[in-house]
């Protein structure tokens, strides 16, 4: 099975991009991430992960038009590619499988 592994942070970023209602670009993704996870994350980490995901083919990007609020600079919009969505789904399937394998009541026991 040929599959690229996704790190935990990468997976979350990918999910956030997938979950964005509006066009996803750096700032939005960063804000969403902080909101969703409640963690404090540096913007550089987000950028590095986005570019890396793009290099791996899970994301694609294109430049938008120039906007005044960014000092005339264009935004880079990210969208999840087919490969990306398949990877996410595979992960979900795997997780579900693993969840199902846990005997009933065991987690609650451990949790207490």
């Amino acid at each position: 099975m040929k599959r690229t592994f996704l790190g935990e942070f990468e997976e979350i970023v990918l999910l956030v991009v997938a979950g964005c209602a509006e066009d996803a670009y750096g700032v939005v993704i960063w804000e969403q991430l902080q909101q969703q996870t409640g963690r404090s994350i540096t913007i550089s980490a987000v950028h590095a992960t986005l570019y890396r995901l793009e290099e791996k083919g899970f994301l694609s990007s294109q430049m938008g038009g120039a906007t005044a609020e960014r000092g005339g600079r264009r935004k880079r919009f990210f969208t999840v590619t087919a490969l990306g969505s398949r990877a996410l789904q595979e992960i979900q399937v795997l997780r579900d499988q693993l969840w199902k394998a846990i005997p009933q009541g065991k987690l609650q026991l451990i949790g207490q």
């Binding site: 980490a45 950028h47 430049m63 005044a68 600079r73 264009r74 935004k75």
Partner: protein
């Protein structure tokens, strides 16, 4: 704050936005790879604006800076790889191609390659040889472990506005100084002598012997082959010999414990140690050291000279500060001695504190900076080190200029190749690199050839410089490294211009070959380099002529005495009371014109001097330093000296034993100019009085480098040497007779003699060496320049072949064409000569100032140098020009 800055903002900014901190923004702009930059900067900017509104500008700025710092990782720095395959500068295939093309080009232009390589090789070889010479000169006396802390005591005596410098001092000085100043760790003395040495039946005169204190050899870290450095010279009558001397006397026997008989008294000295030959770069080379403790000096004095005194200072001692304390010692020791000696008042003697100065000369400075009359060996001169360094540098530069000039000229032919290379995808860097590789390759060949040149020149070089550099020295890793880096440097220096020149054109210009047209050639560079080369050459020619003339002048100067067929026997001391008898015996010989018993002959190194003052009507005049010659009645006649006033010594006057003949210089210095000195009185040390009976014309009894010093001739009966004036065409048979006579008087001691004119010539060995080196290197420099001009003119003329053909068809004469072709070059040479003359004049005037008696630089020197430069240029250019002019126009016009 933000609003103030508004007018500097870019136009597409909104008025109500904030400005992120400048430096982090710049850092980000510079650091992040271009393909990531825009959206990344945009995101940061957006966040900054939001935060500025939320938490205020100051905090936002801080956050922005903090965020920027997080981007400083390799990931963001890494530039996006080029879509197209990278053109690798050092790809092995292309390197192979460059080398192959370079070799083919060399093979195609053999003459060009040969001239280029030979010129550069000669330049490199000269550079290396001179560099070795300079290196050697700069590293004298470094073998002593504590060389940096060792100093030689110098004595400076001021008198009559002149300062006499002695490199030695009196017997008590060294130890006295050591006792007085704790910063002196050790002191040691050395006394140079020459004497007869005998072992069994072997007896020779040894010229290089020295009496030395016991610690001298350890001070100079002289390694012992046998014996112990600590004890070797402590006992009286002991001797340490070099292995060469040991072999000479003892053969294969073990020298330790054996006795050598030294001097005419045959005093036995026991060998207590054997040392190796002293290193070449030492300022003395003695064959044996005798223990100075042999002499019991009951009352060592301070005010005389003769002992070379070395002091070792402690590590942190300051020599200058120490020197400043010496006058205390002069007041304490020298003044009473002077007072007693000269019979003068204490106040008068106190003056010595000012006139008697001890100085410290660093050991490592002796070879290049000490030029007194009394050096142990003839020293080098720091000036020559400078001159030769400059010469080496210029020769290398000359060779490089040649190389650049020729390479540029010939590279223009390869314009099309460059064009094709560019079409096939070479970028500028590749072309530059290719041409640099070619020139480095050429320099590499030149380097190999340079080694051959060095190998060939080395014996001559060693002979001229009196050094013992072996070829193996040049093969040592260090020298290889130096030569390689110099070659590489020269290659790049020479190749960089052609490389950039050729690669700088557009493909079309390259392909059209318009580079070849004379208009496109960079005339100014070629011309500049030719002017430069001939400028250097002319300066060197001028210098060579002046140096040669000055040396000739010195050798042939009227010395005031006749040095031809003048023979000196230094050892008649051995005859003791029989000296006069021997002299009389010799006078019987038909070839002997005159003979005089005297130790003092011109060119002799050891000269005795003293302080005297004139006795005038009103009291004593100022004290002066004068040399003293002890002579007999026949001295003046034997040397053919000219009497100006008064008379020679004569047996008819019994009072002549206290009479003195002085030279003109003495008359002047004693202040007797314009009066008749005959009959006046001179007072000297111990209140001895001499009556002047005559004045002799000045004669040069030392080298012409020095001014003639005041001299007194007095009658002496102890002799010690014999001066002989002979007249014969058969010198060998006379010498045989002389030997026979000598042996009749003293069968025991070998005869020693030398001709004064030969000795005189040997005074100028250093100058002769300089002259030879200078002449050879100037010649080589001129050859390099000539080679360059030859090849360049060939190239330029070849380009004008068609023009010449047309001119000939139209009726131009051969002479006319040659003149036309030579004219351009001659103009440049003339510019070079005009520039070189003042520089040459300045440099040589400076050099001549070293000599007390020197030539004037006359205008014809410049004329001759200019003429030579023009002649060399004409010869090289006209050869090509005539060849071109004689060519059949059919041939030159047929092409194409």
């Amino acid at each position: 704050m933000a609003t103030q800055k508004e007018k500097f903002e870019p136009q597409n900014r909104l008025n109500d936005s904030f400005e992120p901190p400048r430096w982090p923004a710049r850092l980000l702009d510079w650091f992040v790879a271009p393909h990531l930059r825009e959206d990344l900067q945009g995101d940061l900017y957006e966040i900054f604006q939001k935060r500025a509104e939320q938490v205020g500008i100051a905090r936002a700025k801080w956050e922005y800076t903090w965020a920027v710092l997080h981007y400083l990782t390799p990931y963001f720095f890494k530039r996006k790889p080029n879509k197209y395959p990278k053109r690798f500068l050092l790809s092995p295939d292309m390197l192979r191609n460059y080398v192959k093309i370079a070799l083919r080009n060399l093979a195609a232009n053999k003459a060009f390659a040969a001239i280029n390589i030979v010129g550069l090789a000669v330049g490199l070889a000269c550079f290396m040889l001179i560099a070795v010479f300079v290196y050697d000169e700069l590293h004298y006396d470094t073998h002593a472990a504590n060389a940096r802390n060792i100093y030689r005591v110098q004595l400076l005596v001021t008198g009559n506005g002149d300062v006499a410098v002695y490199p030695h001092a009196d017997a008590a000085v060294g130890e006295g100084m050591k006792a007085a100043f704790p910063e002196i760790k050790a002191s040691s003395r050395l006394l140079s002598v020459s004497d007869f040495v005998k072992f069994e039946d072997k007896q020779f005169k040894e010229e290089h012997l020295a009496f030395a204190d016991a610690n001298l050899l350890s001070l100079f870290s002289v390694p012992f082959l046998e014996g112990s450095v600590k004890e070797a010279l402590t006992a009286p009558n002991t001797i340490v010999v070099t292995s060469d001397l040991a072999k000479k006397y003892f053969g294969k026997q073990n020298p330790l414990g054996k006795s050598l008989a030294i001097g005419t008294q045959k005093t036995p000295y026991k060998v207590t140690g054997v040392i190796d030959k002293l290193p070449d770069n030492s300022h003395f080379h003695f064959d044996a050291f005798l223990s100075l403790s042999t002499f019991k000096i009951p009352h060592p004095t301070w005010s005389n000279v003769g002992y070379y005194t070395y002091l070792e200072l402690k590590d942190n001692a300051d020599a200058r500060k120490l020197e400043a304390k010496f006058p205390q010692l002069v007041a304490k020791y020298v003044v009473p001695e002077v007072q007693q000696d000269m019979g003068i008042s204490l106040a008068e003697a106190q003056k010595s504190v000012d006139t008697f100065r001890f100085k410290l000369q660093p050991l490592t400075d002796i070879h290049l900076h000490s030029h007194t009359k009394y050096e142990l060996e003839s020293n080098g001169d720091v000036q020559y080190v400078y001159i030769f360094s400059i010469l080496a540098f210029f020769i290398l530069l000359l060779a490089c200029a040649n190389f650049t000039n020729l390479s540029t000229a010939y590279a223009a032919r390869r314009s099309r190749e460059v064009g094709i290379r560019k079409v096939m995808g070479s970028i500028k860097k590749h072309i530059v690199f290719q041409f640099l590789i070619e020139s480095v390759l050429l320099t590499f060949f030149a380097m190999l050839l340079a080694y051959a040149v060095i190998w060939g020149l080395l014996p001559f070089f060693n002979q001229v410089t009196d050094k013992h550099t072996t070829f193996a020295f040049f093969l040592s890793a260090r020298m290889l490294f130096v030569l390689c880096s110099v070659s590489l440097f020269a290659g790049i220096l020479a190749g960089i211009y052609p490389a950039f020149f050729l690669s700088s054109f557009t493909i079309l210009t390259n392909l059209k070959g318009t580079l070849l047209s004379p208009k496109m050639q960079k005339k100014s560079l070629h011309n500049g380099l030719i002017v430069f080369q001939f400028f250097i050459s002319t300066v060197l020619i001028i210098s060579t002529i002046v140096v040669n003339r000055q040396l000739n002048y010195m050798q042939n100067k009227k010395l005031g005495y006749d040095k031809d067929q003048l023979l000196f026997l230094p050892d008649t001391r051995a005859l003791a009371q029989n000296q006069v008898a021997f002299q009389q015996q010799l006078l019987q010989h038909k070839n002997v014109i005159s003979a005089s018993v005297s130790r003092n002959v011109p060119t002799n190194k050891t000269i005795v001097g003293t302080q005297v003052f004139p006795k005038n009507d009103t009291g004593n005049g100022t004290e002066i330093h004068t040399d003293i010659f002890n002579v007999d009645y026949d001295y003046i006649r034997t040397l053919s000296l000219t009497m100006l006033q008064g008379r020679n010594f004569s047996k008819e006057f019994a009072t002549d034993s206290s009479g003195v003949i002085i030279n003109e210089a003495a008359v002047k210095e004693l202040g007797w100019n314009g009066t008749n000195p005959v009959g006046k009185t001179i007072v000297g040390s111990g209140q001895v009085e001499w009556k002047v009976i005559g004045v002799v014309k000045d004669f040069n009894y030392t080298s012409v480098k020095q001014k003639i010093a005041p001299l007194m001739l007095t009658l002496g009966n102890n002799g010690g040497g014999l001066v002989l004036k002979i007249k014969t065409n058969e010198v060998p048979s006379f010498l045989a007779d002389l030997r026979k006579q000598w042996q009749a008087f003293t069968p025991d001691i070998p005869l020693q003699y030398h001709f004064v004119d030969e000795k005189y010539a040997s005074l100028y060995v250093t100058e002769q060496r300089t002259q030879q080196l200078f002449t050879v290197f100037s010649l080589l420099a001129v050859i390099i320049a000539g080679l360059g001009l030859f090849a360049l003119s060939a190239f330029v003329i070849e380009q004008r072949t068609k023009e010449i053909g047309v001119r000939k068809v139209m009726g131009a004469s051969v002479v006319g064409i040659v003149a036309l072709l030579s004219k351009d070059f001659l103009k440049l040479i003339l510019v070079a000569i005009v520039m070189a003359s003042p520089i040459g004049w300045y440099a040589m005037t400076h050099w001549l100032e070293n000599f007390a008696y020197r030539i004037e630089i006359q205008w014809w020197v410049f004329a001759l140098s200019g003429f030579l430069a023009v002649a060399i240029a004409l010869l090289t250019v006209s050869f090509q020009a005539i060849k071109a002019a004689l060519m059949n126009p059919v041939k030159s016009l047929r092409a194409e």
